[in-house]
């Protein structure tokens, strides 16, 4: 995908010179202009020029209609004409939605939301970096799905790729038109495996303009965290299986009925703690 070439912007002005000063050649003109930085880290090349014209008919204060060339600059060196730092913004939220939020549970849906400060062009892509605690199933994009439920103007046609080395999901072609600043973008991923503990894991999303096989950074969204839940199980009933409830009886088994608010994985264990009045034999 290549970027769009836009026309240069030329603007003119003169100065308020009440004393009709005349400055000889060879003096320095210095113009300082407050600007808004470019929205992405990209060198600004070409189309810089400085030139001076002289009025031949008017009085020097009204916008002249009859100007004649006097001199022009040569192109300045453009190397390094770039914004140096990608803007960093705290994301709105990260969460595990639905009931598959337990520790180590597979197939959960993670949802991330952020609001743009810098706009995203049609050439924009999003790169989601996955923390090491989350298992990306088989590193294969066919094993999970990524959807954009808001903020993407071309969500249905978006495509994804995954870099196992960098643990990064790249979402391309999600924008069919310019996306303004202050747009809330929401992305969901379904199919990964939750962390093996209840610690909080931070995800980041970077937006880039992807032009001619080069990524130009726009904005980084941080602190979108998810945490797997320890969950809760309730003992609903417990009884001696064969009904022998005599003192010092030694029944062979107890039956326990429990309800858990999360899925039970095959890797889970079960621990039963009896009250102190019971003598648990080896």
């Amino acid at each position: 995908m290549s970027g769009t070439d836009y026309a240069a912007d030329t603007w003119a002005f003169t100065i308020d010179n009440p004393d009709d000063d005349v400055f000889a050649a060879g003096v320095a003109i210095v113009i300082t202009i407050p600007i808004k930085n470019p929205p992405l880290v990209q060198e600004i090349e070409d189309d810089w020029e400085f030139y001076i014209k002289t009025e031949t008919a008017t009085d020097g204060t009204d916008y002249p209609t009859d100007l004649n060339d006097v001199e022009e600059s040569i192109q300045p060196p453009t190397t390094g004409l770039t914004t140096t730092t990608i803007k960093s913004t705290t994301g709105i939220s990260g969460s595990i939605t639905g009931s598959l939020d337990g520790i180590g549970v597979s197939g959960a849906t993670y949802q991330f939301s952020f609001k743009t400060t810098n706009p995203i062009p049609v050439e924009g892509i999003m790169v989601l970096t996955v923390p090491s605690g989350v298992t990306v199933v088989d590193n294969d994009v066919s094993d999970y799905t990524v959807t954009c439920s808001s903020g993407c103007t071309n969500a249905a046609s978006a495509s994804i790729s995954y870099s196992a080395a960098y643990r990064q999901v790249t979402i391309s072609d999600a924008f069919s038109s310019y996306t303004a600043s202050s747009t809330t973008v929401t992305i969901s991923v379904t199919g990964w495996t939750n962390p093996d503990d209840s610690e909080s894991y931070d995800f980041t999303i970077d937006t880039f303009a992807y032009i001619s096989d080069t990524k130009y950074g726009i904005e980084t969204f941080t602190d979108m965290s998810i945490a797997a839940s320890e969950g809760i199980c309730y003992v609903q009933d417990i009884y001696v299986t064969d009904g022998d409830t005599r003192v010092y009886a030694s029944p062979e088994s107890y039956t326990i009925q429990a309800w858990c608010n999360h899925a039970i994985e095959t890797t889970y264990g079960l621990k039963v703690v009896f009250p102190d009045d019971y003598i648990v034999k080896d």
């Binding site: 836009y6 026309a7 912007d9 030329t10 603007w11 003119a12 002005f13 003169t14 100065i15 308020d16 010179n17 009709d20 000063d21 005349v22 400055f23 000889a24 050649a25 060879g26 003096v27 003109i29 210095v30 113009i31 202009i33 407050p34 600007i35 808004k36 930085n37 470019p38 992405l40 880290v41 990209q42 600004i44 070409d46 189309d47 810089w48 020029e49 400085f50 030139y51 001076i52 014209k53 002289t54 009025e55 204060t61 004649n68 060339d69 006097v70 001199e71 600059s73 004409l81 770039t82 914004t83 140096t84 990608i86 803007k87 706009p119 038109s177 310019y178 600043s181 303009a209 130009y216």
Partner: protein
């Protein structure tokens, strides 16, 4: 100087080639001057003897100098999309700068810069109409107000 006193006045018919040096300031802009605009007048003891206009159709063209001086643009600093930073453009004049001088600056609206509004097809100019009005200008260390009217 040639002494003409011994010649017979009235029959003198000389081709005179006069080469003189003038300390002139050229026209302040590109202009083509017809040589007929130059007038040569001869005097004798304060009285005009003859006035001659050169009208052979030749012209003198005053050109702008070959571009030789770079404009300089300061580095952008800070973060993408940030406001409150300054861009500084410097240039050393090659010609006199006076009351009639106008400055033109061409800046790129190029590549993937884009508008911060809702116009998807517009490139972003990081120098907006608003920021133009806030710029400062100095020449040879003297600061002047900008007049964009």
């Amino acid at each position: 100087m040639t002494d003409l006193s011994a010649t017979d006045a009235g029959v003198v018919d000389l081709d005179i080639l006069i080469t003189m040096g003038f300390n002139l300031l050229g026209t302040p802009f590109v202009k083509t001057v017809d040589t007929s605009d130059f007038i040569c007048t001869t005097y004798f003891e304060g009285n005009v003897v003859d006035t001659v206009s050169i009208s052979d159709g030749t012209t003198i063209t005053v050109n702008k100098p070959t571009a030789s001086t770079e404009m300089s643009v300061s580095l952008f600093e800070g973060t993408t999309g940030a406001t409150g930073t300054d861009m500084t453009i410097t240039y050393t004049t090659q010609q006199a700068f006076n009351l009639l001088s106008w400055i033109y600056i061409m800046v790129p609206k190029a590549n993937a810069l884009y508008d911060t509004g809702n116009n998807a097809d517009s490139a972003q100019s990081f120098i907006t109409d608003a920021t133009k009005n806030d710029m400062t200008f100095s020449i040879d260390g003297t600061t002047f107000d900008i007049d964009t009217s």
